[in-house]
Amino acid sequence: MDELLEILNDLNPDIDYQNEKNLIDGKCLDSLTILTLITEICDTFDISIGPKWMKNENFNSVEAMWKMIQTIQEEE
């Protein structure tokens, strides 16, 4: 989780990731940031995020992202 927070803070330090639960629906992250975020997550956690996971609810909060990463790791 800390690694994920570090990635997010590097991308945009102005967002309160601990409390923000609407990162995508609230338009806090734009599409370029999301692409960069996915690349970083894939590299850091050695997973592959396919289009299947591209749902707003998977990226709306740090917890949701973390849950998605763990599910992909289990599947792979």
């Binding site: 338009k27 734009d30 599409s31 370029l32 999301i34 692409l35 960069t36 996915i38 690349t39 894939c42 590299d43 592959s48 995020i49 396919g50 289009p51 299947k52 591209m54 749902k55």
Partner: protein, 532 residues
Amino acid sequence: MTITSLTFIVFAFATILAYYVVPKKYQWCVLLLANIVFYAYAGWKAACFVLFTATSIFFGALGMERVLAKQKALFAAQKETLTKEEKKAVKHKNQRRRRRIMLFVLLANVGILCVTKYTDFALAQVNSLLAALGGGEVRYELNLIVPLGISFYTFQSVGYLLDVYWEKISPQSNYLKFLLFVSFFPQMTQGPISEYGQLSRELFAEHPFSYKNYSYGMQRMLWGFAKKMLVADVLSVYVANVFANYERYTGITTLLGAFCYAVQIYADFSGYMDIMCGLCETLGIRLKENFDRPYFSRSIAEYWRRWHVSLGDWFKNYLYYPIGMSDWSRRLAKKTKRRFGAHIGNTLPATLALLVVWTATGLWHGASWAYIVWGLLNGVFIIVSMWMEPVYVKWKSKLGLHDESRAFRAFQILRTFTLVTFIKVLPEVGDLRRGLGLWKHIFTDHRLPTGVGQLLEFADTGKLWLILAAGGSLMMLLVSVLKSKYQVRDLFNQLPFAVRIILLSCGAVLVAAFGGMAMYLFGGGGFLYAGF
């Protein structure tokens, strides 16, 4: 069926009545029946194309699901015996089978879209090439009829197919329900392009009658009719004048004509959305919103997040992300980041994805070089601002400009509106050459109009219509400003009942009388985006 006709009004009321009269579990059947009536008016040829798309994608999605179901059954039956590697091999094999089904159905449907929409354009390019090479001429044009709403329903259906392929949703197993999703009449000719997950929830839920939904929906429909018939249809006469004869007018008058086009296309497209979203609201159905005060955007990228939102979302979900997230794209990001730093490493894959997206967006809007250039211009502005972001931050800091200062925000909004207007007019003047000619004329004709008469020379419909269009445009601006802080319809509905009735009645009479007259005099009624 023309949306601004008495026939449509009767059709809409009959649909609303039938929707609430039948038992709630059959409400979706009323909508399907309404679709059939709508298509009967549009011609059965169009219906054949929709039926093909609905049928092929329905069975394609079920085919992919069956492969997945068999795989799940196999894994459940041999849970103890299959090794991890064997499971991986089965998954890989089944994924290839599902991909084959998806590609076959996808290509068949996109193929029809391409053949009907782009064959003449492609043949024209072949002819030009042959002529340039001094070879023989292959002079034939198919002049195929482009089926009603093909760009919209094909994209919506392809989105569904890909969502099933990516296992984001489970396929619909009822053919008639799926047919309703593909052919839902309010969004047939101009969208919005809905996602299955969202629209199916609305279509197949039971909706009890709600006075609030009904009155809010009716109010929105009236507002949409006013935008279309009192603003867009009247402005269309002025815009046609300027675009056809811009050489005659001064540069400033031509610029004013271009701004009129920006207002016209917004009133036209968002007016249609208001009519259809309003109609759906009376039924308790929420359609995806396509506009979010786009002319208040502070950059081209933001503008495209607020204009034709459903098309932008479609390209983002089904083209931009898949390209940007692909393995080769990630490898490219990794390599360039190591060599040139984070900014270039992150921006380069997005740039390539955006170039594909904006070429496709241009082609989606029309089969001409003017539209391709229009699409690429939008893309180039977005890409350049993405690359220049660190430079802008430095400049703003040096010049002491703050993003949230009112003056700077106003400057950004005006700059974006002007840029958007210039890009918008390019494909609309006739062809690319004339579009560029209009740009040149605005910048090189320095004659000053001798008075208001010459400035508004193109407005040859009489003062009454000019006042009506200007008044309507100002009302649109006022509503947009209010929308930034309030729910405008909630505000309106706080007025005393009698006042609301008087205002709505006056509005309805105004729209019916002047809108009807405008249609008779200027021949309005058609919608700009229906051509896409």
